[in-house]
Symmetry: C2
Subunit: 227 residues, 2 copies
DNA sequence: ACAAACTATAGAACGATGATCCATAGAAGT
DNA sequence: ACTTCTATGGATCATCGTTCTATAGTTTGT
């Protein structure tokens, strides 16, 4: 019986070529590079073709690594996504940290909100790994949640400052920060999902920030400073 | 070589039993029931084991239907999820429509926000199909988006009323409704994803509604009526 | 310097998945 | 009653994550 062969892809060609060489000639990637090259390849695939396209075989090919190395270094595919998750939140924390140019506590939060959306729109698929359930069965590890918590702290301290300086109504900074985070996430998520059919996403986002911040102000009249 | 057999599940037992019967004895499900039974089975599986567990074979088994019927009726698996998507938004629209008991326009919106969260928490996995990207590659059809739009209209008309009665600041009702929707979705999404480590979700949600509505009020002092 | 422990390698293999094809036969419309 | 439609059940395909195997390159301890 003749097995019907599929299309001849480049990887198949390479596999056949390697098989035909008489000398074994295995190349071994240095141990320290393996982990980072796998994560970088994953980020590249996520960015170009989306998280669904990150398969063991393709990831190994694009990282220049054996499929088994993924299991050696990350346990399973979820481990790779966990690394992506953690990396994403590290980047997000950095983006939030460097976003505040204003000395005004409320304006600083507004700028932070802008940086949040910018990050999401620049890395929509990474954002989807972090905040949507695009990877079936994946749940972030405790260590990765620490990175997420670090992102949250950036906002939380800014909120605390706004409360301490009596710009915001007195209250629990954690709850207020969570309110702002939820609002920003919701707007960005709907935008990425393309569920803003009836309103311009950019306009909605800035309006939402202004509305929410106005509601949090001790003196709502102060909202005039919010551009 | 002895093939190591897996656990003997009920479906396996049934499959073996069927295979051993000599008479064909096919039963045919009436055409009209097939579609609904498939969707109902999908909803049942989603509710009990999550969207990932909805496979062609299991869905066919639990719906009492041949695997091919799924393709005959829905084209592919995405078609089934599209039906779930549409059904979910139909239910959501109904939940929002029947939620407003108050005659006060702003309180009505607040009640609607409560109904939104209640729906999401009662059907978290259906909500995930609607608002998270839990089904790889699935995108809702245009018809299903109409159902989603109908849900949005419930909120949009309530917002228009709050603007017309001069409770809210003057502005585009679509944008304001989108702001509220985004905030509610964001809070609920983070709660379902269990990313509210530092603040109680229930407290955060009601606080977010109050803060945002206060920011939207023509006279923020009126926010005292928001419980 | 040499031996042992570690781990990356290629490749086959397994079970489960979505999807397609097929001939048969029951249900529905004329 | 006859024709058309379509559900059935089973085989089949490619691809997926994962595991196993033997081999061999790298690192480390003595």
């Amino acid at each position: 019986m003749i097995h019907r062969s599929g299309t001849l892809t480049y990887s198949r060609f390479m596999a056949m070529a390697k098989r035909s060489t008489s000398a074994p000639l295995r190349h071994r990637t240095p141990s320290l590079e393996v982990t980072s090259s796998i994560v970088e390849a994953a980020l590249a695939i996520i960015g170009s073709d989306g998280p669904d396209s990150v398969t063991v075989r393709r990831l190994a090919t694009e990282a220049g690594v054996a499929p088994m190395s993924i299991y050696n270094h990350f346990g399973d595919m979820h481990g790779v996504f966990d690394a992506v998750f953690e990396y994403g939140f590290t980047e997000l924390a950095e983006a939030l940290r460097t976003s505040t140019t204003s000395s005004h506590p409320v304006l600083a939060i507004q700028e932070m909100g802008g940086a949040y959306r910018r990050f999401a729109l620049e890395n929509p698929d990474t954002y989807a790994v972090m905040f949507l359930r695009v990877v079936p069965g994946f749940e972030a590890s405790d260590e990765s949640f620490l990175a997420a918590a670090h992102s949250f702290e950036q906002l939380s301290t800014a909120v605390q400052r706004a409360i301490d300086t009596q710009h915001f109504l007195p209250g629990d900074a954690a709850i207020v920060a969570q309110e702002i985070w939820a609002a920003c996430h919701g707007a960005v998520a709907l935008e990425i999902l393309d569920m803003c059919a009836f309103a311009d996403p950019t306009e909605t986002y800035s309006a939402l920030l202004v509305s929410l911040l106005r509601g949090l102000l001790l003196n709502p009249a102060e909202s005039a400073v919010l551009a």
